[in-house]
């Protein structure tokens, strides 16, 4: 395969967009802007380093102890192994800390008026009055307190096998935390960890597109006109919203 083959789908896209735009005659103002923005922004930094800068990040929401827990937990939920980087290397802990500054984390996207029925059946969906920031704060404090009470080392200093046992107990709801249902804490943590592993790097996770590369997701390519019918492996590596290539 010639070495510039992976560029073709991208150029294809630009060509199609250019030919498409004038076709839309009866349309809203500002239409052309979309196209020129795409054209004006060439793909940057083609070489994403395998080694990411996830380690250097300073958390804004989590305390030092909380962040140590978070880093240890995400690295067990999606571990680095023979397939490649895990959630820690992908920057999932950093991603979760950044998310804590968004309206999502303060519960502003949800209906949060009472009365609340924390014991409602699971079929009725989320019924806690806690937002993600509170779930993390209370959940992490609960787990750290539990480790202390058991006379164990802090979570992040435990062996991988011990950490996995704690996480499994949270997942099953066997580890009872005082202020937050363990299952609610665990499912939020797992959901956000996956987000940090698979989101577009623009959100601070999936650094180097390590998550996408491992499963064969091409990211922001979003143009498969010539591929729809083919029973073949899609050969092009992912690109990101910012135009990075893996």
């Amino acid at each position: 395969m010639s070495e510039h083959v992976p560029d073709n789908p991208r150029r294809d896209f630009l060509r199609k967009t250019l030919t498409l735009i004038p076709v839309v005659t009866v349309a809203s103002t500002g239409l052309g802007l979309g196209a020129s923005a795409v054209i004006a922004e060439p793909a940057r930094s083609p070489n994403v380093p395998e080694k990411t800068d996830a380690a250097q990040y300073q958390p804004a929401f989590f305390t030092v102890d909380e962040y140590a827990f978070l880093q240890a937990a995400v690295s067990r939920l999606i571990p680095a192994d023979e397939l490649g980087a895990g959630a820690l290397e992908a920057g999932a802990a950093e991603y979760i800390d950044r998310q804590m500054g968004t309206p999502y984390a303060s519960g502003a996207l949800w209906y949060m008026q009472g009365p609340f029925d924390a014991d409602a059946a699971p079929e009725l969906g989320y019924q806690l009055q806690l937002n993600p920031q509170q779930i993390y704060r209370l959940g992490i404090a609960g787990v750290l307190g539990w480790c202390r009470a058991q006379g164990n080392k802090p979570f992040h200093e435990q062996s991988a096998a011990q950490q996995d046992r704690v996480l499994a107990a949270l997942e099953a709801g066997d580890l009872v935390l005082q202020d937050v249902p363990a299952k609610a804490f665990f499912s939020l943590l797992l959901q956000n960890t996956r987000e940090g592993f698979f989101c577009d790097p623009v959100h601070g996770g999936n650094k180097g597109m390590v998550g996408w590369k491992q499963i064969g997701f091409p990211g922001a390519r979003a143009d498969f006109m010539d591929w729809a019918e083919r029973n073949e492996r899609y050969p092009f590596p992912p690109v990101s919203i910012r135009g990075e290539r893996a």
């Binding site: 809203s28 979309g34 996207l109 969906g125 989101c199 997701f217 922001a220 979003a222 729809a228």
Partner: protein, 594 residues
């Protein structure tokens, strides 16, 4: 105290599919029309511009385009004896909130209707006898026939730029061996565009269902198979299977939407005005309670404004239409105990079953490729295309592969038994993400006495008004039908020779789960019909009680369809608009004598 604005001929509440269609029709009739949309202005630019729109976290996961639950939601309970709790996080259904409504971020499967589903009760009574229908099942006829609606289906497809393959056109078979559906009713014209290409998963479904003796056909899709110009002069480019379709604004101008297909034409006419960020609180009635005088709404600055109008169109989506009627005192609220009243009755949904098949590395389903309306389906178990007699349940289900594109955060599925985290999860995800397919049994859902809508006694919206309460659960008929369909689907999956399959069907006594996505195909609550004692609207979608209020939308369906609803919603809206233009405006009053 509300400020009163200058009176207009017609005010439309909501600017999604039904609002846009009504706006176009009524401005064509020369009326001065104002549309009030509660959400923000939205359009292909900037909301669908590449590359920012290719962002799974923002759109599928944080659900940027959907209903803002912090302002208003619904409450849900399973039976009249339970306390309803709010739908606090988006789960089972994903209503729209801004200009274009859910029509801006729908998928685009664009069906008509199976003719018997418009005559549901009559048809079942004729074929199987009255006693075949369970006592508490409240299915009804729509009061309009497929033949009457055919010209409106035809026109809506031309407006949407729909891709598909006809089976017969004016009685002549044209679709054999080409992907036509032998169970489809006759058409006056072919589809505006040929069918889309079929992705590998759909090809596998096509082969497996053919081998089993079924009749696979190409899904009719409002994603374009080629360039297209609609009757309003709006132009569309070909869909490229980008895979960011359902829940996203189409950056290619390929998915039909009110914004792409209708709004550009409305922008050209002086007698139309669209006001975004205009949240309608209620319809105002005169002292007789038989005539609406206009609506009251809150604007972006929080001011309460009154918009007087001769004609009021509720085009706010199924459950919002019902809520606005209840908040305004239009029509008698339904009482499930006495089985009396009309507003809120016959609330129905979609009865979904899903089977996933996982393959070896030599089958490349490449699930990131897809388009929302695209796929291959069978109707062998839809509507009444098979004998229900021996099975003893009411309703049918189309089945299909409809690969809209699945992305890694929300779209990863692994074979049953795979752990949810750790190296085993990681390996399975890497092994299967591009080697799996998903099939649905998109079952029709019937209406029952116990499933209905009213106002919640406790919870309120950001404006202090009661939320709508859904009382809803799966009934025995639903579960038995679902199990029948899922069994057929599993056999289709097995015929593909996969490594493993995952079956997601309903269990006996299973309750409606508000947290897991079903569809946004909610029906009923303000149903059309021939009898004012059992329907809120007449066959032209006109309120029986308040003749200058018309209510288009799936709220008018007396029960759910096997197919996706929007094709019928659009055709009924054009049908209603035609009645307004040709009959009502000449002689305002009830179009059908009560």
């Amino acid at each position: 105290m509300a400020n009163t604005l200058k009176k207009v001929d017609a005010v439309i509440v909501g600017f999604g599919w039904t609002g846009a269609i009504m706006a176009k029709e009524l401005t064509e009739a020369g009326l001065q029309v104002v549309a009030l949309e509660r959400g923000p202005m939205q359009d292909t630019y900037p909301d669908g511009s590449y590359p920012q729109v290719i962002d799974e976290l923002t759109y599928s996961v944080r659900k940027k385009l959907f209903l803002d639950l912090s302002k208003e939601t619904v409450t849900i309970r399973h039976t009249v004896n339970d306390v309803a709790l709010p739908y606090r996080q988006l789960g089972a259904f994903l209503p729209g909130k801004g200009v274009g409504g859910a029509g801006l971020h729908w998928s685009g499967v664009h069906f008509r209707v199976d003719p018997i589903e418009l005559r549901m009760r009559s048809h079942y009574e004729e074929r199987y006898g009255k006693s075949f229908i369970p006592q508490d099942m409240t299915i009804q006829d729509f009061g309009v026939t497929y033949e009457e609606l055919e010209p409106y289906f035809d026109f809506a497809e031309k407006v949407f730029g729909t891709s598909g393959q006809a089976w017969t056109v004016k009685g002549e078979v044209v679709g054999r061996g080409k992907g036509g559906n032998p169970y489809a009713p006759d058409r006056s014209n072919p589809f505006p565009l040929v069918s889309q290409k079929n992705v590998v998963s759909a090809q596998l479904f096509q082969q497996a269902t053919s081998a089993l003796g079924y009749h696979p056909y190409n899904l009719p899709s409002a994603n374009t198979s080629g360039p297209y110009t609609n009757p309003y002069g709006a132009q569309m480019g070909p869909c490229n299977f980008c895979g960011f379709c359902s829940g996203y604004v189409c950056y290619m101008y390929s998915k039909a939407s009110p914004n792409v297909n209708i709004l550009p034409a409305l922008r050209q006419v002086p007698n139309f005005e669209l006001r975004a960020n205009a949240h309608v609180l209620r319809v105002n009635l005169d002292d007789s309670k038989q005539r609406a005088t206009g609506v009251t709404y809150i604007d972006a600055q929080g001011r309460e404004l009154e918009q007087p109008a001769e004609l009021v169109i509720l085009a706010a989506f199924q459950f919002n239409n019902v809520r606005l009627m209840l908040l305004s005192g239009i029509g008698k609220p339904y009482d499930p105990v006495k089985n009396e009243g009309v507003v809120g009755r016959n609330f129905a949904y979609q009865n979904m079953g899903t089977v996933k098949a996982f393959f070896d590395k030599d089958v490349h389903t490449n699930n990131f490729i897809g388009a929302g309306g695209n796929g291959v389906a069978i109707d062998d178990f839809n509507a009444d295309n098979f004998d229900h007699g021996p099975h003893g349940f009411v309703g049918g289900s189309p089945m299909w592969v409809n690969q809209a594109g699945s992305r890694p955060i929300a779209g990863v599925a692994n074979p049953p038994g795979t752990p949810a985290w750790g190296s085993a999860w990681k390996k399975a995800t890497a092994d299967y993400y591009t080697h799996q397919l998903s099939m649905d049994a998109h079952g029709a859902h019937q209406s029952y006495r116990g499933n209905y809508l009213d106002l919640d006694p406790t919870y309120r919206d950001a404006y202090g008004l009661p939320l709508l309460r859904m009382t809803f659960d799966w009934q025995d008929n639903d579960i038995r039908m679902n199990q029948f369909m899922v069994d057929k689907l599993s056999k289709i999956a097995q015929a593909m020779n996969p490594k493993s399959i995952a079956v997601l069907g309903k269990q006996v006594k299973e309750h409606f789960n508000t947290a897991s996505y079903q569809t946004t195909h909610l029906n009923g609550g303000a149903i059309m019909g021939t009898d004012p004692a059992t329907s809120a609207l007449n066959r032209y979608l006109q309120c029986w009680d308040v003749h200058n209020v018309f209510v288009p939308g799936a709220s008018a369906f007396p029960q759910g369809l096997g197919y996706n609803p929007t094709g019928l919603v659009a055709a009924l809206t054009y049908w209603s608009a035609r009645a307004i233009r040709e009959q009502y405006l000449k002689n305002p009053g009830p179009l059908v004598a009560a």
